[in-house]
């Protein structure tokens, strides 16, 4: 049998393998589609589910760390100085000294004007009474525990040293001898300095 002889010469039970169905569709692009030929699919599914999972994680983290009132209430009239050798903030009563007012946790507790006019170091009676009340309240709520005596002073950078020293002395007399000054961090220094906690 020569090689040129067509296979169709015989009545064949077995034919050449290949696609049979849809071969005679007249439209070329339809035939191409239905035959399953062509290149890689151009429609790609974006994996949205992992993306949503990721977004949900971010939302949960941000909600957990969300604080409606902000971490530290800073009076808008107070412009704090900055320092390098600082330690991290602590939870303590905050005494704010603005241009003219002295506030304990936002409540008025005296005026700086009287100190400046007197031009001498003095005990601030309102502040002393408020701090003493805070100390007594803490002792009632935590019986038997040693009182930490920490107070944070939030002082405007232009306030004269006389006022700062008067408040410092009053805080010590009111039972808060461990005084800290709130400052901004300067130059991203480490939080190892600024005195013993």
């Amino acid at each position: 049998m020569s090689a040129e002889k067509p296979l169709s010469r015989f009545h064949q039970a077995i034919s050449v393998p290949g696609r049979r169905l849809m071969h005679h569709v007249p439209l070329a692009f339809v035939r191409k589609k239905v035959l399953g030929g062509g290149g890689r699919a151009v429609n790609q599914e974006i994996p949205l589910i992992p993306f949503i999972d990721f977004l949900l994680c971010i939302v949960l983290f941000l909600l957990a760390s969300f604080s409606a009132s902000g971490e530290l209430p800073i009076d808008k009239n107070v412009k704090l100085p900055k320092a390098e050798n600082v330690i991290d903030m602590t939870d303590a009563p905050i005494v704010a000294i603005t241009g003219t007012q002295i506030l304990v946790d936002g409540n008025p507790a005296g005026s700086t004007r009287a100190i400046v006019e007197a031009n001498r170091l003095q005990k601030i009676d309102d502040l002393f009474a408020r701090l003493k009340a805070k100390r007594e309240l803490w002792s009632q709520l935590n019986p038997g525990k040693p009182f930490p005596g920490v107070v944070v002073l939030q002082v405007d950078r232009k306030v004269p040293a006389l006022v700062v020293k008067s408040v410092f002395q009053t805080a010590a007399l009111g039972g808060f001898p461990n005084v800290s000054f709130m400052v901004g961090r300067l130059g991203g220094a480490s939080s190892s300095g600024g005195g013993k906690e």
């Binding site: 949205l48 902000g70 971490e71 330690i87 040293a161 013993k196």
Partner: protein, 186 residues
């Protein structure tokens, strides 16, 4: 898009539904943006001062008080600082440091690096409490003018806190400032 296929029968209402994920993602992105914008990234810290001189109260009966050396920082001079080591009322040593401000920041902040270096050098030479197990700190007493602005006081306290030493807290050694600062009440 995500879908739920529960099968379908004839001409009844379609039971296959696509969950609209794109508006959900938009909502989540808005929420993320809002939370990021309102997040508080606190830059606040504190700098310590202590009115418990010579140290925290102790339950032990007081022993014979040994006079310790204290560093008095006099900042009332216009052109110089004065560092005075005192034992009680006895002056041990006096050092003058030129008052030279160095700008540190865009908001008019300034530092006294010469003063910081001199205080560090002085503590290295004369500091009493150096061991990590020593729970006491050397005492610095700050003398200020009544009219000195608070920012200047903080710049000097910052310089005093420059020298640091090891300190044992619960078996762990950390770095703390070598001095404890208090104010001279005069």
């Amino acid at each position: 898009m995500a879908g739920i296929d529960v099968g379908g029968h004839g001409n009844k209402r379609a039971t296959n539904h696509d969950i609209p994920l794109i508006p959900f993602i938009d909502f989540l992105l808005c929420l993320v943006a809002f939370l990021l914008v309102t997040a508080v990234w606190s830059q606040m810290a504190r700098i310590n001062a202590d009115a418990r001189v010579p140290g925290p109260p102790s339950s032990e009966p007081p022993t014979e008080e040994k006079k310790e050396k204290h560093l008095h920082v006099e900042m009332r001079g216009e052109r110089k600082f004065q560092l005075v080591w005192k034992e009680g009322s006895t002056v041990v040593n006096t050092i003058d440091v030129v008052r030279k401000q160095v700008n540190a920041g865009a908001e008019g902040e300034y530092r006294y690096p010469d003063l910081a270096d001199k205080i560090k050098e002085e503590w290295t030479k004369n500091g009493t409490h150096r061991a990590a197990s020593d729970k006491k700190l050397d005492q610095a007493v700050l003398h200020t003018d009544n009219s000195t602005p608070f920012s200047d006081v903080i710049a000097v306290i910052d310089a005093i806190y420059t020298p640091q030493r090891d300190f044992d807290i619960g078996g762990k050694t950390t770095k703390v400032a070598s001095f404890n600062v208090t104010f001279a009440m005069n």
